[in-house]
């Protein structure tokens, strides 16, 4: 790398830092969007394309890390039983914890109880953005039927064609297939799976490197994204639904606080701060949960923190394989950001449409939040919102106005969704890897 490219790289890296983001990237993007409103569509396309590029290494990282991790864990199941158990506990606790925190924050805020003026403002927005429904009354029923929650779960989880799932970025199915493949690999003698293992290790290393490179462009992507949002953002709607935003952000902050505490309890091991040593962490990463939070906040992508989390956990003498596996699984399944988002949106809609909050509705909200929050794995923006609202519709809430409203508010809240997912993934990974130190790594390496 010559000096010019190094300088450019350093400059781009600096742009991702919170201070540069707040003082440089965000004001510049806002100014750009304000000065060039006519270019909002172009900015939107560029931002969308950029977010797609940032997600590019997601699938290879997930396939390689989950397969290798599952193989390692299954091969020495007894030795890793504690990690397995803790990983499951971390996942389940994270998901349920996020939805409960969001539920209580939403209950406290009553986000859907709007003033009459706010209702008119929201109604005007919905009316402007929606058309009448045009239907043929006499058309023959297609017979596809309506999907209940059970149908949706069946559609969401069981894998069928791995290549099809990969092409469609169906992350839950990809994780399941990878885990099954990893377990299957562990039952075959190592000599026969060495080629695949080496290939997956190479894929994993390359994907991480690619992710590092791609993340350099994330500030530019965010500039386009914010610029397009500034020119199209509906401030009236934002002010009318401020309670919704406040409820969600407060839920995110509580989750962040919980993540910081959990991480601290589980990282008693001394941290290496030697910058020359691979796997070491910088001084800035000493408060890594906050670092993960801000890093995802400034890139609007939780996957952007994958390297940060694994590097930090490895530097704290946790088993790198376990760190890889738990990080990828926690980032992709323990999606606290979307889970909390679905909960707050569901309570908002229940308030808004004057629907009763009975015990069965509460249980349904919690189930749906976890299920559809997880289902957003690999999805961004409108696609993620559509999946989440599909779940909320199952509670008996009219989805069309809610979908329009959430799409309008998403440019602001999507940053927090990614940020809180990263922070809790780091804490959950630290919990899962705790008490599974280097000794395990050495043993597992010996076994292979």
């Amino acid at each position: 790398m010559n000096s010019t490219s190094r300088r450019v790289s350093t400059f781009l890296e600096n742009l991702s830092r919170p201070s540069y983001f707040v003082l440089g990237v965000a004001p510049f993007a806002i100014l750009l969007g304000w000065l060039l409103p006519q270019a909002s569509t172009l900015f939107q396309h560029l931002g969308g394309a950029g977010l797609g590029v940032i997600s590019l290494p997601a699938i290879p990282v997930v396939i390689s890390s989950v397969t290798l991790g599952a193989e390692q864990l299954a091969r020495s199941a007894r030795r890793h039983s504690r990690f397995n158990r803790r990983l499951w506990i971390a996942l389940i606790t994270t998901c349920i914890g996020a939805t409960l925190i969001a539920f209580f924050c939403a209950l406290a805020q009553q986000p859907g109880v709007l003033t009459p003026e706010a209702q008119v403002m929201v109604g005007t927005f919905i009316e402007e953005k929606s058309d009448p429904i045009y239907i043929n009354l006499n058309q023959v029923s297609t017979g596809s039927g309506e999907k209940n929650l059970f149908d949706i779960v069946l559609e969401l989880i069981p894998p069928s064609n791995f290549f099809f799932h990969t092409a469609n970025a169906e992350m839950i199915k990809i994780i399941l297939v990878s885990a099954i493949a990893g377990v299957a690999m562990s039952t075959i003698e190592p000599a026969r799976t060495d080629t695949l293992r080496n290939l997956l290790e190479s894929v994993n290393s390359i994907s991480k490197k690619v992710l590092d490179y791609i993340l350099l462009i994330s500030p530019i992507v965010i500039i386009f994204f914010i610029a397009s949002s500034v020119s199209t953002f509906n401030l009236g709607l934002l002010s009318s639904t401020l309670t919704f935003g406040v409820a969600y952000v407060s839920a995110c902050m509580v989750c962040l606080g919980a993540a910081v505490l959990v991480y601290r309890w589980n990282t008693k091991a001394p941290v290496s701060v030697n910058p020359e040593s691979p796997g070491s962490v910088s001084k800035e990463e000493r408060n890594p949960v906050l670092q993960a939070f801000t890093s995802a906040l400034t890139t609007a992508n939780s996957l952007a923190t994958y390297s940060l989390i694994t590097r930090n956990l490895s530097a704290r003498n946790f088993n790198p394989d376990q760190a890889d596996t738990s990080t990828s699984i926690n980032l992709l399944i323990g999606r606290t950001g979307p889970i909390a988002y679905v909960t707050v949106a569901a309570i908002f809609a229940l308030n808004f449409f004057d629907l009763p909050l009975s015990l069965d509705v509460i249980l349904k909200v919690i189930t749906i939040s976890i299920l559809f929050g997880i289902a957003t794995a690999g999805l961004h923006g409108v696609a993620a919102i559509a999946v989440m609202v599909q779940g909320i519709g199952d509670i008996g809430i009219p989805t069309q106005p809610l979908l329009l409203m959430l799409i309008a508010l998403d440019p602001l809240l999507m940053f927090f969704r990614s940020a809180v997912s990263s922070a809790t993934a780091m804490a959950a990974s630290a919990y899962a890897c705790n008490n599974s130190g280097m000794g395990d790594l050495n043993s597992s390496e010996a076994a292979t």
């Binding site: 109604g123 919905i126 009448p132 006499n138 058309q139 309506e146 519709g393 008996g396 009219p398």
Partner: protein, 317 residues
Amino acid sequence: MLHAGKSFLRFLLCSSLCLAFIATLADPVLAGPLPGPGDTAPGRIDLNAKPQLNPSIQAIRDSGVLRIGIAYPDNLPMYGHDNEGNLIGYDIDLARGMAQALQVEPIFSQPKVTYNRLIQLASADQVDVAIGKLSVTIPRLGYAKPVPYLNLHQSLLINRKVLDRISKDPDNIGPSLRTAPLRIGVISGSSHAVWGSTTFPKASFTTFPDWQTCVDALINREVDALFRDGFETSRIVKSKPRLALDYVPIILKDKIDNIAMYMGPRMEGLLPVAGLYINISTGVINEEDLFRRFKKEMRDSPVAMGKTNKVHDQAKH
């Protein structure tokens, strides 16, 4: 030789003239003199005959006015009164233009009767033309002849929660609606009160005296939906955006709602005049054209804003 040639030419000329004379006598058109008044011989045309006007037009010309009955109550921007009490609206302009084309004065009246009764008044020769966003229905055809000028569709303004209960699948809303036991509100004596049971065979219908009470019943949850044309249902949510959160218009693409002006039997001669006038002036327009044309006015529905309609009974302008 030269003399013989000249004689031959003279002979030819004379022969031609004789033949022309004979042919002229044989042709009745070219044969003069022209037939005089009162000459009614078969095959003869009296070119001085007094022209006879279409009886309907003659009757209107004789009276010097075109009596136009407008539906009650006002329904701007289609028909109604402005703040000064002047009649305005799309239908009013159409009727005025037609009167102008017939070279007579328009006289408007707005009897306080149902839409069906207004059409019956046209059949009873109380008005020459009945107009006011009147739909074409089979029972109405028994009384008067329609001249369509708007092609709308039947439509429901439905509670979103009810719709969500009926069908979550957007592709199957139609079949689900057809078989749903909906509670639907309609205006009494309207075309939609006639169509309702055929369009939604499983639904129960409640009639209300006017659109305002229909909307009140919907908001008070007395009914699940209102049944009217797509223009009116869409207009409610446009004029009162708060309602857009709870209610959504559904336009039935396969259920036409033709809007026409009606002529009584004595005025049947006006049908081609009205048809041609519509074609050369506004043309037969549809919902989308109306939405575009009245984008601003649609946001000021007097019904949705809770204003009371002015009563201009038998007002003449």
